[in-house]
């Protein structure tokens, strides 16, 4: 199957009349069986259409028009308005929210995540490209136009989770070319605070019968990898994980320093070298090059099926 979305998922696009959003809507409608984009929202633009999708002033209007709850929203509005748009989606019963917008202050993100948790909703992003289930649905700009997305994402058994939008496609393309293919790929964004981290998505992949292994793309900075390593250590996961870490050169550059207090809470383990060691300790193989990932994964899968 898939995680987060499937062929039946209905969603809206908030900020649908923006230039990028218009393209994104086209791409989603064209991909796979055609996404069920049941409405768009841009305040003041009630009555317009974007590629046949009706536009509303509010999310409430879109839900009323649809006549039953809407599953998801792709939010692509300017950073100053994103928090309100996401609150609006959550308060109108939307359960899966993909935030495309970049440069949102972390206080806003933290508020959105906290409200989502209270209401049983889930946020993917911000600053991400969304979710794709090959040949079925894409929710967000992931993979680009439908015909390009089809080249990189072939149906298969590997779940992909990536902090970088572009690298989601690069890694998926490599896995597809090697015959492994993708179950669901999720671009989660790389900001300091995001809606769904590797560790938070693992239980979903764990429960997904189609998924046999996980590939992650990661970078220096933050605690997301340590959190994943801990999850893997504490849970008896059936899924082998292969990671690729970019930005190794940053270890040699003067750079990111936490305030003193930050190291107490977040720890010092945010360099590439320390992350690689931490992931390796948890049994996660870190590939040197992306092209090596399929072979490593195949070996791990063979090892599991032999055991």
């Amino acid at each position: 199957m898939s995680i987060l979305v499937d062929a039946e998922t209905t969603f809206i696009v908030q900020g649908i009349t923006g230039r990028e959003a218009v393209n994104l809507t086209r791409e989603c409608l064209d991909y796979g069986a055609g996404a069920k984009v049941v409405g768009g929202v841009t305040p003041g633009r009630l009555g317009r259409e974007v590629h046949g999708v009706p536009v509303f002033d509010t999310v409430a209007q879109a839900v009323a028009h649809h006549g039953r709850p809407i599953d998801g929203s792709v939010v692509t509005v300017p950073p100053a308005f994103t928090k309100d748009a996401v609150f609006e989606a959550i308060e109108n019963g939307i359960k899966i929210i993909v935030i495309v917008t970049e440069r949102i202050p972390r206080r806003d993100v933290a508020q959105m995540v906290e409200l989502a948790n209270l209401r049983g909703a889930r946020i993917i992003g911000p600053n991400c490209l969304g979710i794709i289930v090959p040949d079925v649905i894409k929710m967000g700009g992931i993979g680009g136009p439908a015909k390009d997305a089809a080249k990189s994402y072939k149906k298969g058994s590997i779940g992909v989770i990536s902090r970088s939008g572009g690298m989601t496609t690069e890694m998926s393309s490599t896995l597809s070319a090697a015959g492994l293919g993708i179950s669901t790929a999720v671009s989660i964004g790389g900001d300091a605070i995001i809606g769904s981290t590797y560790a938070e998505l693992m239980p979903l992949f764990e429960a997904d019968e189609e998924t046999e292994g996980i590939v992650i793309y990661t970078e220096p900075g933050g605690r997301m990898e340590a959190e994943l390593a801990r999850w893997v250590t504490e849970n008896d996961s059936r899924l082998p994980i292969v990671a690729f870490m970019a930005g190794r050169f940053m270890d040699e550059m003067p750079g990111m320093s936490f305030g003193h207090a930050g190291t107490i809470v977040e720890g010092k383990e945010d360099t590439a070298t320390e992350k690689i060691a931490r992931l390796a300790e948890a049994g996660i193989t870190v590939a040197e090059e992306i092209s090596e990932i399929p072979e490593i994964m195949k070996a791990k899968l063979a090892e599991r099926s032999a055991a």
Binding site: R106, G144, E170, G259, A261
Partner: protein, 403 residues
Amino acid sequence: MRFFEYEAREIVKRAGIPVTDYGFTTDPQEAKEIAARIGSSTVIKSQVLSGGRMKAGGVKFADTPEEAEAHAKDILQLEINGHMPRGVLVDPKAEFEQEYYAGVVWDGTRKQPVMIFSPIGGIDIEQVAEEQPDKVGRRHFSNILPFGDFEAKEVIASTGVTGSALNKLTPILTKLAKLFVDNDMTLAEINPLARMADGSFIALDAHMDMENEARGRHKQLLKDLGVGDDETREAREPTAFELAGEAVDSQDHRGVAGNVTEFDGNLGLVIGAGGGSLTLFDAVRKYGGRPANYCEIGGNPSVSKAKGLAKLVLSKPGVDKIAVMMSIVSNTRVDIVARGVIAACLELGMDPAEKIAIFRIPGAWEEEGFKILEKYGVEYADRSVSLHEAASRAVEKIQGAAA
């Protein structure tokens, strides 16, 4: 964005937390006047965005206004870790009974801020946390509900502090939490927070860091503090090359091209798409290449921006060739980047086939892009050639050229 100590103190003061009767100045004569006004012994502190002030001689004590003036004169001319001071802070030399610590920082895993409190202040809190963990209280708090008095009391009491100190510290912690949230800080720290002889508390020093993305909504505060829009407060001043990159990027609003960091290698990089640029930079170095720059390009920039960036990189002294590489692109158009980099070569009177070591950008509009590259004889690769393979080819070519 980090604040100078004198700015951080002003922010603390505005939040309603007591501070000393300090003064900030860039003039030794004025330092003398401030010291005279204070009327007791003073401490003169260099205002630099760098640690190790004390060790470098940037903090000195004065018994008289004249001595304060002399110290200010010395400190104003003293470079610390490559930074000249913004000015000096003239502060009363406080007589206190005990030093405490209070700070707020983000916890990215829990996605909430954490209040940290300790009855041991004045030194690095991480050291206290390691050596006496029971003396460091921590408490996460909601992003939606205001930080309440009860939460302040819980974190203070958890370290064994009770009595009137508990009640006097409570409003300071709630104000600090509010200050952190209201100003989009990534760190708000009072250290030391001193208990004076009369039992009152006063902030003797503060560190504040504001999230860059949030600067736009704190214009008034930044204006009041005299922080200019152009003050990036990066650890290193941008080079002329990097500033020229910014100029390219600001040409128009479409996409990003020109966000560059300068290095001293011979292979110019026109790379991008977020994680792709990190991967490619690593790959070039892995194969023994010497990058002349790090670069971020993406979000579908215009031809003229791609051209401007390529020209900038090609014109940098010591650059023999450029490598144009990205991970598979979704919305940046391959043909637009191809047009831009070829136009850059032609306008500089260079042969694209010779100057572009490799072009590896697969994805949107690739067929159109590849046609253009073929026309000019530029070596290109599609998605079947990995990022590392492309980087290794570029390095081979430039090493061949140098030999």
